[in-house]
Assembly symmetry: D2
Homo-oligomer: 301 residues x 4
């Protein structure tokens, strides 16, 4: 197992079959950096001008279509002391009749205190003096090259991952992606210091990161959608509009997983999920919305 250090110099605004910047092996770890959603780096320099610029691609040796790529997020450290967020809930998350009441959105600065583990508005309005939110880093957009010559905008998401903006994708999670092209071609980016469910203002606290991740190859493991695992839970991710369809994708993926790896037929899976399943709302802002279907490992028997 090797640990690679990689300093990116160019970035992608789509996830596709881009020239690899590094070839890594099953079990290898990479320490690299990601720009924020607006293209700014740790020093406040703008290295990309499009939304959610991706670092990568990383070619994982021995990975073929039909495999799954496991990516463990080992560490996610903001590498500067500020981030930005939008200031108003998005028009699509409130009633159509209410949209006229929304003010125009601004970009506001948040301060990140890594030592204290907190995030706070740099210039809070009077009403929010003292508001201090725990630092809870996550990757907003990451995934692998899609099939058929596609290059999918980092504004959106799909079976390949992408801009899911799910706060559960933080340190300690292992994400699984279906592999569509040789080498998988992994791209990470768009980190958030913290974000509520749904990314309802259209951003989390967007900042640049140092990211450490480890890849593993699951041979002949055909999965339909991104999956994830923490110490306590397994989860599946559906990306689509409307949210109903994202629920369908995530739920179908979960019952397939329970059948294939945990010996639960559809009835057994239904008994368990019906009474204990949890869903998280990843994002309800991007072109594809994200719903996550979670099951505690204690129920896997």
């Amino acid at each position: 197992m090797t640990t690679h250090r990689f300093a990116p110099t160019h970035f992608h605004s789509a996830i596709g079959s881009h020239e690899p910047v590094l070839r890594i092996a099953d079990g290898d770890t990479v320490v690299t950096t990601t720009l924020d959603a607006g293209g700014w780096d740790a020093n406040g320099e703008r290295l990309a001008t499009t939304g959610n610029p991706m670092t990568g691609s990383f070619f994982v040796e021995g990975t073929e279509p039909g495999d799954a790529l496991a990516v463990s997020i080992d560490r996610l450290t903001p590498n500067r002391e500020h981030g930005f967020a939008w200031s108003v809930v998005a028009p699509n998350v409130v009633d159509p009749d209410f949209v006229r009441d929304l003010p125009q959105r601004d970009i506001v600065r948040w301060t990140i205190d890594r030592a204290a583990g907190t995030v706070a508005l740099a210039e809070p309005p009077e009403r929010l003096r003292g508001l201090m939110v725990p630092l809870a880093p996550m990757i907003g957009c990451f995934g692998v090259a899609p099939p058929g010559g596609q290059a999918i905008s980092t504004a959106t998401s799909g079976e390949h991952g992408g801009n899911m903006d799910y706060r559960g994708f933080g340190p300690g999670v292992t994400a699984y992606f279906p592999v569509f092209v040789p080498g998988a071609l992994f791209h990470p980016g768009d980190g958030h210091a913290v974000q509520g469910d749904g990314e309802i203002v259209g951003t989390g606290v967007e900042t640049s990161f140092e990211m450490e991740f480890t890849v593993r190859v699951r041979k002949d493991c055909r999965i339909g959608w991104p999956r994830g695992e923490t110490a306590d839970e397994i989860f599946t991710v559906g990306n689509a509009r409307p949210l109903d369809q994202a629920v369908q994708h995530a739920t179908t993926e979960m019952v397939r997983w329970l059948g294939e790896d945990f010996g639960m037929d559809l009835v057994a899976a239904s008994h368990v999920l019906g009474q204990v399943v949890r869903y998280d709302l990843g994002n309800v802002f991007a072109p594809a919305y994200t719903m996550v279907c979670r099951l505690a490992k204690r129920w896997l028997g």
Copy 2:
């Protein structure tokens, strides 16, 4: 404050302006019983044949359109030792292409052990031997008479409440409903011993209950959708299809609440919600789906 004991003898399959069975005052407590979703009572007798039969209506003195009715769920005790659930995830929660793979659904019996505080399949398949789920009682369907002479089926939900099937409506919660008719005309029913998010098999563990609740009147408190409160959180509920629209209703209601009662303008509310809001999926089975927007009280300042 009076505590009333009320033993229901007839039930409603819609929530509407039904003849009150009891008139109660602001602050009063009621101890009553609810049938299960199929109409069976504590003794296994079927007293109603339609879905989600409601106890009530309860007329709350001094309540007028434009007020809100607060209903605190003081206690929710299953009054028999078994419940039932369906055995297969619903066709609408999986991918359309996957529906053909679903077996036909059956009704299965679950055993409720009140002393141990657990719920278990009465005849578990081999794979699920030993599965034991914590008892987590909740009210699936409750609400107040809607306006304009409507009587809304207990299969569905709306601004008046109804069949929201949200596992958060259990003991310790206070629910708020907009009042549309004099006396509010509260109806409860459809209790579940436990239920996962989304009610994805179409039921929780459906059983009959003894329910104790306390009502309070909030004069001139115009709310748009059901709201709730626990020791730690406030939440708002949106009921609609698709889920996207339920998110819009719940979010709009939350920002209104934060503005009216907590002095947060739309920008302040956006700053807070954007980074710390949580959403729960109530149900994704009934004609109207339910999404819940939650905010921890620690963020109210």
Copy 3:
């Protein structure tokens, strides 16, 4: 066959099991009047203050649950010379980001010239001088009492009919409704002098009407959703949100109809519909949207 003349004096803002105002027989014709959506009659008097007040209910003798009620719209004559419409496309029919650009809506008067068969703005803006639209009368809201003690607001629609706002429901059409209660309890109202697809400004040209209709009973004819028939076409109606679901209801109802009455199995129905089906957008404004699935009779073989 009798022709009844009925002058209504009170009206309903929900469709439910309301006391019949007239009992009619299979084959009978009724000549009656409907208020406009705001409750105004032919003389400009306001007889109801809620939205879409209904005339009725009409009890059709010999009609039982499990039958279908056929209602032929024989004539639909505006009985005054003006109507009203809203002036701006509704917030829910444009992109959320575009809603802020919409002006506040007004009520504007349209002039109805029955002799010329035209409808025109009473005070057109300069740009629309001379705009003259053909009179194309239709019933926006009509239906039968739903089951289970429900009374469904005339703002919305469902299996029972209701506020479908489909411009195809005009003279020459026969509509079919599933019967849920003895006598069917038919309610008509909410006529429009003309309306575009989707009712995207939230109204057609709303006016009061003299309506002549003839009822027929189809015994033991279990239909799931409203259906219709003209000289040239058959059609089915789905009412739901999102529109996708309305499409599903209408399409399912059509393939069932083709199977039951026209001897086409699912494959034959698919061959035909796949290449020649037409869909109309009824309304995309009310709580339930309406999609119509149409098939020319020439394809019925």
Copy 4:
């Protein structure tokens, strides 16, 4: 103006910034061929194995981001005597509970009689003997390279066009696309001999074509979505899920068009559209659904 004849030899399964196969000028006409959706050509040879392979790309000289590309479909001639279609309505266009009743789908052959102008099942079931549908050729998938390095699968559609499967895109129509990259990079393919609204069996009658089209450049003409024009109508196209959102895109695009080119402010546009607009359902099968908003030119004043 030049007429180019171009015989394609390789094809694309995504629409993106592919190497141009031909450079053409404003006003030029191209005569070329398209494969069917499965990759078969006029001789029944399979030249591509992925769905909806595209001919192209065609680079239109003098075209820059911010322009619009007008593509007139001059002629669309099936170049073989058979096509194929699927045999069963798709699972996503019927009620979830009805999916289990659907048989497995087959591919069936249809015969195309160019002289007679008809399309018929090659081996019709007994019930459909004699069924003969008018030939009504259309392009299912066409569009221009999207921005930001994207390559969008020909399974789906977006602002750039793509797999809209709208039967209105036939001879006599001029389609307009927003230009995102220099030269526009036009791709056509996926022709249908005939198709009903919605493409509800997942195909029209898929066949290969000889296509003749003429391009024109509209400088500085920023459009948001594909538009179209026939002798009698203008129309706009929205591509998204759910259909509600496709309606929003198409309607927003239409009111913008009426404002920019026809001097109708939002109120004037609303008056007109509200009473005379028509919508067509393009497809309700592909990952993005398509709705078309149409206005007869007689109303443009």
